[in-house]
């Protein structure tokens, strides 16, 4: 049987972290009474007009720059038409012709063979980033055969990030999205929490034989976590391969991932190809961005967005932070990867290192193994740790000075975890875990043991 080459592309919608919506002044907030964060424009009442939120444009520019994109100094807004109860206007304002950023790239790392010891770097091309409106939320009430509509989310700013089909499996898709999530969180352009719908991923999947043209692709929606993303993509690849090997064909359709069953199913309401009848948004002139060279002299400061100004103020991206950690502390790339993968853990590690004499290379084990496993067990973040960086550093100092053994240190940590306010030294004294340093005392103890177990000693000496 000829081998199959799976091809995976992603469309990611990230909700912009802003106070107000993309084209109106209503508030952006996750949980609020239904229809309380809705303006007349969001409800599409006649006579209302869109007014672009500056912060949303800055968020998109930051994200574009962080993903190595070319920022389009002139981008346009369009209307994408379709009917749905949670889209009151009957169209979504998006950027279909000329989006704000194009042609970027994202580098991400993967472990080979599930071992953390070998990491490989891959790159996925970013086709474009566009600004667009989010829709409201539909709550389906099947018992009463109706849909309840909440427009609180309608009009919230989104950045759609389109990743080219450079990925080949669930693991790659998941790793790419995870890295994008970390970048967005570092920039602050989106909080990117998937569970709160701030990061939504649709996967485009197809398979083909090497050397042949790409196969028909399906779109997979309703993926609610990074873990499910990997599962959904891998399931769909398998489904397509099996279908084709059994002589079937793949329909160009939209499928939903069912997390309970672990499979994809055709989606209702999405049969047949959609015709969105794109047209320019007549109420919005082109969006013009400037850089240091093209900065107009006489314009109101507040009306000007300077790409270079934003670029100069970009924070260190995760990849740069990881390199710095490796360089500064002599830890392995896998270690810095793990540190950045957990919220607040890198800071915690650096704080411990600052407060202890133990070498950073030795501290890393305590943070990544002992501390992190406790945090995971109790579903806590580093910031919520009952064992502060100060306490851990204190404990590691005792170990470093050889006042206790490694085993004893683990015991003390277990005790510290209870959060009873005792210091490591107090616990060591309480449980008598101090290492004996006195040579004479040690000799006496050994002699007593030997004396008590003469027979065993003779056996050992005889071999």
């Amino acid at each position: 049987l000829a081998p199959w080459v799976p091809v995976v592309g992603l469309e990611i919608h990230a909700q912009i972290s802003s106070n107000s919506k993309l084209f109106s002044g209503s508030q952006v907030q996750f949980a609020a009474p239904p229809n309380s964060l809705v303006s007349f424009f969001d409800a599409s009442l006649p006579g209302t007009l869109p007014v672009l939120n500056r912060r949303c444009v800055e968020a998109a520019v930051m994200t574009g720059l962080a993903l190595n994109c070319s920022i389009n100094k002139k981008s346009l807004f369009d209307r994408k038409h379709y009917f749905y109860a949670d889209l009151p206007a009957g169209y979504q304002i998006t950027q279909q012709r000329v989006p704000i950023a194009v042609n970027g790239s994202l580098s991400y790392s993967l472990c080979i063979d599930n071992k953390m010891s070998q990491m490989v770097t891959k790159t996925v091309r970013i086709k474009q980033i566009q600004l667009e409106q989010d829709s409201g939320k539909s709550l389906h009430d099947d018992t009463r055969s109706q849909t309840l509509v909440d427009l609180n989310r309608a009009g919230v700013g989104l950045m759609e990030v389109v990743m080219e089909p450079d990925m080949c499996c669930g693991e790659e898709a998941a790793a790419a999205v995870r890295e994008l999530q970390l970048i967005l969180q570092t920039l602050g352009s989106s909080q990117a929490v998937m569970a709160e719908g701030q990061l939504r991923v649709d996967a485009n999947v197809s398979v083909h034989h090497p050397g042949e043209p790409y196969g028909v692709r399906t779109e997979v929606k309703n993926i609610n976590s990074i873990r499910f993303l990997a599962k959904a993509v891998d399931y769909e690849i398998q489904r397509q391969i099996e279908e084709l090997e059994n002589g079937g064909t793949i329909l160009n359709e939209t499928r939903a991932f069912d997390s309970k069953l672990g499979c994809t199913v055709p989606m209702r309401d999405k049969e047949g190809k959609q015709d969105y009848r794109f047209m320019p948004e007549p109420n919005l002139p082109p969006l013009i961005l400037y850089d240091a060279k093209s900065l107009p002299a006489n314009m109101n400061h507040q009306q000007v967005i300077n790409i270079d100004w934003i670029y100069e103020r970009l924070p260190d991206l995760p990849s740069v932070k990881r390199e710095k950690l490796v360089e500064q502390y002599g830890i392995l790339p896998e270690h810095s990867f793990a540190l950045l993968n957990e919220d607040g853990l890198a800071e915690f590690y650096e704080n411990v290192v600052k407060q202890t004499r133990m070498k950073p290379k030795r501290v890393i084990g305590w943070v990544l193994k002992d501390l992190l496993s406790y945090l995971k067990q109790h579903s806590l973040t580093a910031k919520e740790s009952p064992v502060s960086s100060f306490l851990l550093a204190d404990l590691l100092n005792l170990l470093e000075k050889k006042e206790i053994s490694s085993t004893a240190a683990k015991q003390v940590l277990a005790e510290l975890w209870k959060g009873e306010g005792k210091t490591p030294l107090e616990i060591v004294k309480e449980q008598k875990l101090q290492l004996l340093q006195d040579q004479e005392e040690l000799e006496q103890i050994c002699q007593t043991v030997i004396d008590r177990q003469e027979n065993e000693v003779i056996m050992m000496v005889l071999g």
């Binding site: 802003s18 106070n19 107000s20 109106s24 002044g25 209503s26 508030q27 009474p33 239904p34 229809n35 309380s36 964060l37 809705v38 303006s39 007349f40 424009f41 409800a43 007014v51 672009l52 939120n53 500056r54 912060r55 949303c56 444009v57 346009l76 038409h81 009917f83 749905y84 109860a85 539909s138 709550l139 389906h140 009430d141 099947d142 055969s145 109706q146 849909t147 309840l148 509509v149 909440d150 427009l151 209702r268 309401d269 049969e271 015709d275 009848r277 320019p280 007549p282 109420n283 919005l284 002139p285 082109p286 969006l287 013009i288 507040q302 009306q303 967005i305």
Partner: protein, 108 residues
């Protein structure tokens, strides 16, 4: 120029219009004819203009919360509501296929 039944059917699906009778279709064809006059202008090498606002400055608003909190007013126009939610039919009810619906286009 006549517009084919397939295109008319497609338009009825997309825009949820009902051409109703031959007069409706004729009106459409005349409108297309009228717009086609634009082809008489030579636009070679001319950048398309898609908005008379293209030379205007796109106004940027500060990211402040200035609207919202008018649930009662918004729901006043709703025919049906359930606890401050708008009520809509369950998902899109697709227009039946040409053969299955009562449309003037059937006879064409």
């Amino acid at each position: 120029q006549k517009v084919s039944v397939e295109v008319l059917d497609h338009l009825e699906h997309l825009a949820l219009v009902d051409f109703r009778d031959s007069e409706g279709v004729e009106r459409l064809e005349k409108a297309i004819q009228f717009a086609d006059q634009l082809h008489e202008v030579n636009t070679d090498g001319v950048e398309p203009m898609d908005s008379v606002l293209e030379d205007r400055c796109l106004y940027l608003r500060e990211d402040d919360v200035t609207e919202g909190n008018c649930t009662k007013e918004l729901l006043e126009n709703a025919r049906e509501k359930v606890e401050e939610y708008f009520v809509a039919p369950p998902g899109n009810i697709p227009l039946p296929k040409l053969e299955e619906r009562d449309t003037f286009l059937q006879g064409s």
